[in-house]
């Protein structure tokens, strides 16, 4: 079930704003905010390396050293290239309260899946992470989905998922999680490219003026 909650070193952030946040990041720290439970939001800093390790381990809940609070990682902001984290949102939680988190759906038995072995068949997984609602102390690490018996043109929907006890989702039960289909053959080389390049799209503004003149 859920991980041991990692303890994060924190420090209060006295000065806010992009200039000071940039200096913190350069020093290997992360600006973060803690809010929730009707208390005032607190601006804090985290150790960047420690927090990234938490994310890699798939942790959802963390404990803040010094403050003695248990928090849920609510949001993580990345830079424009997605290479580094620039800000973290943490929300205070009681372990007994219900929270909404995203949990990865992990496929099992892909090697033995008969449908995926068919010529031209593609196993598609439109939903990679599922938003679930559960108690904070019972957040599942992942939802394992067995696809070893999935045939071509078959799909597994949200309704077919076996969620752990106490875990529910509000997604549409008919949404497809995994499906196998045979892809229509795509043209490898651009046929009739010359014609396509010379063709022009319809211009809406011209059509309107023609209608008005009529």
């Amino acid at each position: 079930m859920s991980h041991d909650r990692p303890k994060l070193k924190t420090a209060a952030r006295e000065r806010t704003g992009s200039k000071y946040a940039k200096r913190l990041r350069a020093a290997g720290q992360l600006p973060a905010v803690v809010y929730g439970h009707g208390q005032d939001p607190a601006h804090i800093t985290l150790e960047a390396e420690q927090f990234v390790d938490c994310l890699h381990d798939g942790a959802h809940l963390v404990e803040l050293e010094g403050k003695g609070e248990t928090c849920l990682i609510k949001d993580v902001q990345y830079d424009y290239l997605g290479t580094s984290i620039i800000h973290v949102d943490l929300t205070r939680v009681d372990l007994s309260e219900e929270v909404e988190v995203s949990v990865p759906i992990v496929l099992k038995g892909e090697d033995r899946c008969p449908g995926a072995k068919a010529a031209g068949a593609i196993l598609e997984q439109p939903i990679v992470d599922l938003e679930v609602i559960c108690r904070a102390d019972a957040i599942p690490d992942e939802i394992v989905l067995d696809v070893s018996e999935l045939e071509v043109e078959q799909s597994i929907t949200i309704a077919d998922l076996k969620l752990p006890a106490g875990v529910r989702t509000e997604r549409n039960a008919e949404d497809s999680v995994v499906s196998i289909y045979v892809a229509a053959e795509e043209p490898e080389e651009g046929e009739g490219e010359e014609e396509a390049d010379s063709a022009e799209p319809e211009v809406i503004s011209e059509r309107k003026t023609e209608e008005e003149s009529d």
């Binding site: 990345y78 598609e124 211009v203």
Partner: protein, 139 residues
């Protein structure tokens, strides 16, 4: 067949400026691996098509390729040996305006080594530096 819009509001557009970085379309959303642009540029419909063909040919109908950019900007060009003036020239080709961070292509349903090789082949067809990226962590 090269991509272009079916309908447009105006036949020609001003060139514009490519300032800043991508703030949308800058993470892997559909596949498992993606190709991220590191420069700003006009990416022509032919270049997008060349990338798609290179990856499709390499993957031989395995997996699924997502194209995350669409060439919706008409680029005009005066014919050779034409004097200046006489109005804006006709549309020569269609291009997508990409900024640093934009995800151009995504691949799903193939092993990592195949996806990396396919994206590397696409990167060779691109007129700027690109890099391979993977899906972000779930929070």
């Amino acid at each position: 067949m090269a991509m272009m819009p079916k309908r447009v509001k105006y036949r020609k557009q001003m060139r514009g400026r490519m300032k800043g970085n991508a703030t949308r379309g800058n993470y892997v959303a559909f596949g498992e691996f993606g190709l991220q642009c590191l420069d700003s540029a006009w990416l022509s419909a032919r270049q997008i098509e060349a990338g798609r063909v290179a990856a499709t040919h390499f993957l031989r109908r395995q997996g699924k390729i997502y194209i995350r950019v669409f060439p919706d900007k008409p680029i005009s060009k005066k014919p050779l040996e034409t004097r200046m003036g006489k109005g804006k020239a006709d549309t020569e080709y269609w291009a997508a305006v990409v900024k640093p961070g934009t995800i151009l292509f995504e691949i799903a349903g193939v092993p990592e080594n195949l996806a990396k090789e396919a994206l590397a082949r696409i990167a060779h067809k691109m007129p700027f530096k690109c890099r391979l990226v993977t899906r972000r962590h779930t929070v």
